[in-house]
């Protein structure tokens, strides 16, 4: 272990003590790794979740910006997303080890983005089967080299050192059930929305929906698939008979389907503004500066992502 990494571990262990004091009542599994501490919260019987921070991925937050989940059966554990770094993934595994002795048999990737998949190698190393949307390998092939290069600057060499792009080996065409012993989780592959490889996980026992980034709360949704596809599938999402949702970003558990209201409103505003600009003949470069602006105060990271969303939306809606 390098001195730098040792120092990181020591510092983060200290940080975890402080963080866990604040979260004590619900903080069941903790591991002394990760700059922010890593606490798993039980949100339903045998269902655990980690809450990512509402920030961009940085060296200071170990890339731990998205929510992660674990569902524990009598035979095995299924994990939902691996996190934004190997440090986060190892902290996640350590925290799972504190709440159950069952082996982690499955890692489900909800989609291609680095904050959800950079920890994959840690799960391959323990022999877990990595499961993803049928389009996920294609999407990672097209982006993997770019992600590894682009994030080196943002996350720093130390955090990126052993990160690999690890594709799923078991693919979901449409639906897939995984038996964890005494409980079944249902995986569902969606048409293009947040990305063209979105997958949700539904625990039938507790009716908990892990929505991945099909649901954003608090942090502005990012559009890397299809705005129209996302809006078109809102009703199908809403129809899922869930008692609660774990969104990809935001609170670790929220009421369903009320959790969808914010992003639905944002997308409708964005689509309205962009459609008007297109009808008026306003060029893309001008239109994206103002579209969606009335939503600014409702979201974290608005200025980081709104113009990008507007750009993608413009290119898509021009074809209507």
């Amino acid at each position: 272990m390098s001195i730098d990494r040792l120092r990181r571990r020591l510092v983060s262990g200290f940080a975890c003590t402080a963080a866990s004091a604040a979260l004590l009542p619900c903080c069941l599994g903790r591991a002394a790794a990760g700059n922010l501490g890593f606490s798993l919260r039980q949100i339903a019987d045998g269902v655990f979740a980690f809450q990512g921070t509402d920030e961009l991925m940085t060296a200071a937050n170990d890339g731990a910006i998205c929510n992660l989940g674990a569902v524990v059966g009598t035979d095995a554990v299924a994990v939902i997303d691996s996190g934004g770094s190997l440090i986060e993934a190892h902290a996640f595994l350590a925290a799972i080890g504190k709440v159950t002795a069952k082996p982690v048999r499955f890692l489900v990737n909800t989609h291609m983005h680095p904050d959800h998949i950079f920890g994959n190698a840690a799960f391959r190393e323990i022999g877990a089967t990595i499961v993803g949307h049928r389009n996920l390998p294609r999407a990672l092939d097209a982006r993997g080299v770019f992600y590894l290069h682009n994030y080196r600057e943002q996350l720093g060499e130390a955090l990126m050192e052993r990160v690999e792009i690890v594709s799923p080996t078991r693919l979901v065409d449409d639906h897939l059930q995984l038996d964890l012993g005494g409980r079944t989780i249902e995986l569902r592959a969606w048409k293009a929305a947040h990305t063209d490889n979105d997958l949700t996980v539904f625990d039938t026992t507790t009716r908990t929906l892990f929505a991945g980034d099909l649901v954003f709360m608090g942090s502005l949704p990012t559009l890397d698939g299809s705005l129209l596809g996302w809006l078109r599938q809102m009703d199908a999402l809403t129809a899922i008979d869930a008692a609660r949702v774990v969104p990809g970003h935001g609170p670790v558990t929220a009421d369903w389907p009320q959790a969808l209201a914010g992003e639905r409103r944002y997308f409708e505003v964005l689509a309205r503004d962009i459609r008007k600009a297109i009808a008026d003949g306003t060029p893309l470069r001008e239109a994206v500066k103002t579209a969606g602006g009335s939503e600014r105060d409702n979201w974290h990271l608005f200025d980081d992502y709104n113009e990008r969303n507007a750009t993608a939306a413009f290119a898509e809606l021009e074809w209507e």
Partner: protein, 287 residues
């Protein structure tokens, strides 16, 4: 991972056109050679250009910032796959006329994004399109006059942050709709003018060829629109030879001088040899 990507470019060469081969080879040699770890800077982008320009323009002199050509792009790319770029040409500063303009993105795997040939009396003074920007890079526009002078301008674009990648967003849709075209005609802002603005949109994934087939593990050959010509009743307005740095669903907005009432004709040819043709009557409102 990086090395695999480089070899994929070489594998793609026999399958792509000669033009693609040139740009991909340049990309292999230069485009990303310094980019394995650190992001590019203005200085490293300039170094790439220094090594690249001989391959594109030989040892010809290139004049800089003469006002013949101007370029605008966002200082930071928002979506790496869709970066709008505007090129303005000033015919008053090039009395013998402007023959072509080449768009270069130093740090991309295929730095020569496109070369546009301008119709002799087409009167094109503004051209906007959308490009992929892989890394921090200068975007350069080099205009060539009828007399053979080269005039260059450049603007530095920082790559997008976050998880935005220069890749196709919705691959299934892109494959299903390939070849569809749309033409928008914007009536002149003033009456009595013969200048009109057009926007041509073509559905095409404009794939990079840098990805593997998940089943066979072979690299998928690059597949992009390599030739495009736009004319009015047989009279050339604008033509393009392009590569993978042009965004998916290639999109071109430009002004031109209307000659008569003939229809607008478009022909696009991709690297698979597929030809897409379409034509639209001229909307003469305002003339």
């Amino acid at each position: 991972m990086q090395n695999q990507a480089y070899s994929s470019r070489q594998l793609a060469l026999p399958l792509a056109s000669v033009f693609a081969a040139i740009i991909l080879t340049i990309g292999t040699l230069l485009g990303s050679s310094g980019a394995a770890n650190a992001q590019q800077t203005t200085a490293s982008s300039d170094r790439i250009w220094h090594d690249l320009k001989g391959d594109v323009f030989g040892d010809r002199a290139i004049l800089v910032d003469t006002g013949v050509v101007r370029i605008e792009a966002p200082k930071r790319a928002q979506d790496a796959a869709i970066v709008p770029v505007d090129i303005y040409l000033d015919p008053a500063k090039a009395p013998d006329g402007i023959k072509s303009v080449t768009l270069i993105i130093d740090a991309n795997p295929a730095p020569v994004a496109a070369t546009f040939q301008l119709g002799k009396d087409a009167g094109v003074t503004h051209l906007s399109t959308r490009v992929r920007v892989n890394d921090y890079s200068y975007l350069r526009a080099i205009a060539e006059t009828q007399g053979g002078q080269l005039h260059m301008v450049q603007t530095f674009v920082k790559a997008s942050g976050g998880c935005s990648a220069p890749a196709v967003k919705n691959q299934d849709e892109a494959n299903a709709t390939m070849g569809q075209m749309k033409l928008r005609q914007f009536p002149p802002k003033e009456t009595m003018t013969k200048t009109e603005e057009l926007q041509l949109m073509i559905r095409h994934p404009n794939n990079s060829g840098l990805q593997r087939d998940p089943l066979t593990q072979y690299f998928i050959p690059a597949h992009f629109v390599q030739k495009l010509s736009i004319s009015q009743a047989g009279r050339p307005i604008l033509s393009m030879e392009g590569g993978i740095s042009i965004s998916e669903d290639p999109n071109f907005r430009f002004d031109f001088t209307v000659h008569g009432k003939g229809e607008i004709q478009v022909e696009a040819i991709d690297t698979d040899g597929k030809t897409f043709r379409n034509q639209w009557p001229l909307e003469t409102a305002g003339l």
